[in-house]
């Protein structure tokens, strides 16, 4: 049983010792990869557990990034310019956007998966256009000079070492939180909804509410990733809320494995790492290769490439032996 825990533990152990192995520049880059990993987990949760494929996950990510930037730059009237408050609001913004889209869609009757996909695409495209055209939040250029998160001891998250550990901490937190939710009875029912919504409804669960909450949770975690992104890159632009990033998140989760949180997380790190490595050598061809690789994975490995390694045993509560 513990054998199946090993790969998961190993991932976190390796990530924890990285600061001892890498230089500051590489460490900063890895910190950014972890942020993408958090975004991939947020999608894997809603997709793998709830069966909802979001083609616009960057909407929640971007909402978090903008909330973080606007708050920490003191641009929201009546709200103090605290980066930590900004991060909190990033989570809230992601969750609210998720909840709103969910509420708008799921309370209607008979929504199909395809509808959800199209609406999320549209939402991401529109969000990108709105942010591009909205002067107050920086328009096309976005917002620069987003401050880092202050840390005890006079440090802040702009320090590569501290910044990396901070992001790693949040990644672990997001992982444990989503894991706890999916392993709770709520998670069991959510998986039931994925299999057969009407059957779950007939047992007396009001399914729309469950899906709205799931999307809010997913949006909140994506918002956290967006908030961390804004502070670690110290800028935000319409690119973080649009279709391009949404597609990337989708590819990470699909390639890694949607059903297992850590598979999506590691999938994001690997794909993004390869991109930074390969885009120098193969340049424009990278995206073409990703697109084709994505098709291949969808057709040949619908469960992703890494799910097997990181699948955890069922909680004790759900095992008979």
């Amino acid at each position: 049983m513990t054998l199946r825990l090993l790969p998961t533990l190993a991932v976190w152990a390796v990530l924890a010792v990285l600061p001892m192995l890498l230089g500051p520049w590489e460490l900063a880059m890895f910190g950014q990869l972890l942020i993408y990993g958090i975004a991939a987990m947020s999608l894997a949760f809603i997709w793998g557990q709830g069966g909802l494929v979001s083609f616009g996950q960057a909407l929640f990510f971007g909402a978090g990034a903008y909330a973080m930037s606007l708050t920490s730059k003191g641009m929201l009237p009546g709200i103090p310019d605290s980066p930590w408050l900004g991060l909190l609001l990033a989570v809230v913004a992601g969750a609210v956007f998720g909840g709103l889209i969910g509420a708008a869609l799921f309370f209607g009757k008979g929504l199909r998966t395809a509808y959800f996909g199209i609406i999320t695409i549209a939402a991401a495209v529109i969000a990108e256009r709105v942010t591009t055209n909205w002067r107050y939040i920086g328009g096309f250029n976005g917002l620069l000079d987003v401050p880092p998160l202050p840390l005890p001891g006079g440090l802040d998250s702009a320090d590569p070492f501290a910044g990396y550990l901070l992001v790693l901490g949040f990644a672990l937190l997001a992982f444990l939180f989503l894991l706890a939710v999916e392993r709770s009875p709520y998670g069991t029912v959510l998986r039931g909804i994925r299999c057969d919504e009407r059957r779950i409804m007939s047992l007396g669960f009001f399914v729309p509410l469950w899906k709205v909450l799931a999307l809010a949770i997913s949006g909140g975690v994506a918002g956290l990733a967006g908030g961390l992104f804004a502070t670690q890159f110290s800028f935000v632009s319409p690119a973080v809320i649009g279709l391009a990033l949404s597609t990337e998140i989708l590819i990470w989760a699909a390639v890694g494995g949607k059903a297992v949180l850590l598979a999506a997380f590691v999938g994001a790190i690997i794909v993004k790492y390869m991109e930074s490595y390969l885009s120098e050598t193969i340049g424009n061809y990278w995206l073409l290769v990703t697109g084709i690789a994505f098709i291949a994975v969808v057709v040949l490995f619908p469960q992703g490439l890494l799910g097997r390694f990181f699948a955890l045993p069922q909680p004790r509560r759900l095992r008979r032996d």
Binding site: V181, S184, P185, Y186, T188, V189, R191, G192, R194, C195, D196, R199, I200, M201, S202, L203, G204, F205, F206, L209, W210, L213, Q314, R316, R317, L318, R319, R320, D321
Partner: protein, 254 residues
């Protein structure tokens, strides 16, 4: 004397239903006591399924009422009827194909423990002991960790019935629960239904074609024919009835 609540627990009073000009039900009335069990038999198209659809809120009746413990259930929305304790087992196994048997039990038990409330379920700690106890009693314990899509047909059907019991349903509507089962599976299902009926106070209404099943279950029968109740009685009484035989074999063999 039984109290007024236990007698006529389910009371069906002159239920009628027509689709366009076709009368699917022409005034069906019968009742079922709390913890009672009855079996509805009849050829295809006799209105059994329409009756179940009305009792579960899928269809409103054209006329007449059905009450459960004195409260009207006919014409209510499906999830409301479900929350009042009416559970239906469809003929096709309706298990959740990717989930394990234990997960199925948790979903049903969660629905009972939390009333289907989201936050309560999120914080609920589960009830492993109860799930295992119920699986053991039903003889399904060995399948606990299996994924539903890999279960044999008969086990799927029994699991689904068990889920309704775990959900705490007061009235089970079973639509041909042994359709497509082997003889052994049929016997096991009969046993399960009997045990549920004896050990819980669940009322059970079964639709069945299979006369072996009906005989072995040994419960009162309701024979339906062309949207009407043709006869009520025990297996032997019904079997001896020339009208019933005619209904099955065609008029000229009466």
């Amino acid at each position: 004397m039984v109290s007024s609540v236990t007698a006529d627990f389910l009371k069906i009073d002159d239920i009628r239903k027509s689709f366009g000009g076709i009368h699917a039900l022409r005034g069906v009335s019968f009742s079922l006591d709390a913890a009672g069990i009855k079996c509805i038999v009849g050829p295809n198209g006799c209105g059994k399924s329409t009756l179940f659809n009305i009792l579960t809120g899928v269809l409103p009746p054209s006329a007449g009422t059905a009450t459960l413990a004195g409260r009207r259930i006919s014409g209510l929305a499906a999830h409301k009827v479900s929350r009042m304790g009416v559970g239906r087992k469809f003929q096709v196994p309706g298990v959740l194909s990717d989930l394990t048997v234990m997960e199925h039990m948790e979903i049903a038990l969660a629905a009972r423990a939390t009333g289907g409330k989201v936050l309560k379920t999120l914080l609920w700690r589960g009830n492993r002991a109860e799930a295992i106890r119920m699986l053991e009693e039903a003889g399904l314990a060995e399948y606990g960790d299996k994924v539903a899509s890999q279960l044999p047909h008969g086990i799927k059907q029994r699991l689904e019935i068990l889920m309704l019991v775990a959900r705490g349903m007061k009235l089970l509507l079973l639509d041909e629960p042994t359709a497509g089962m082997t003889a052994t599976e049929t016997q096991a299902t009969i046993e399960l239904i009997r045990r549920i009926n004896e050990t819980t106070d669940t009322a059970i209404l079964v639709i069945e074609h299979d006369m072996t099943f009906v005989r072995d279950l040994a419960c009162p029968l309701i024979v339906m024919m062309r949207g009407e109740v043709l006869r009520e009685g025990s297996y032997d009484e019904v079997r001896a009835d020339p009208q019933v035989r005619a209904a099955y074999l065609g008029d000229r063999h009466a």
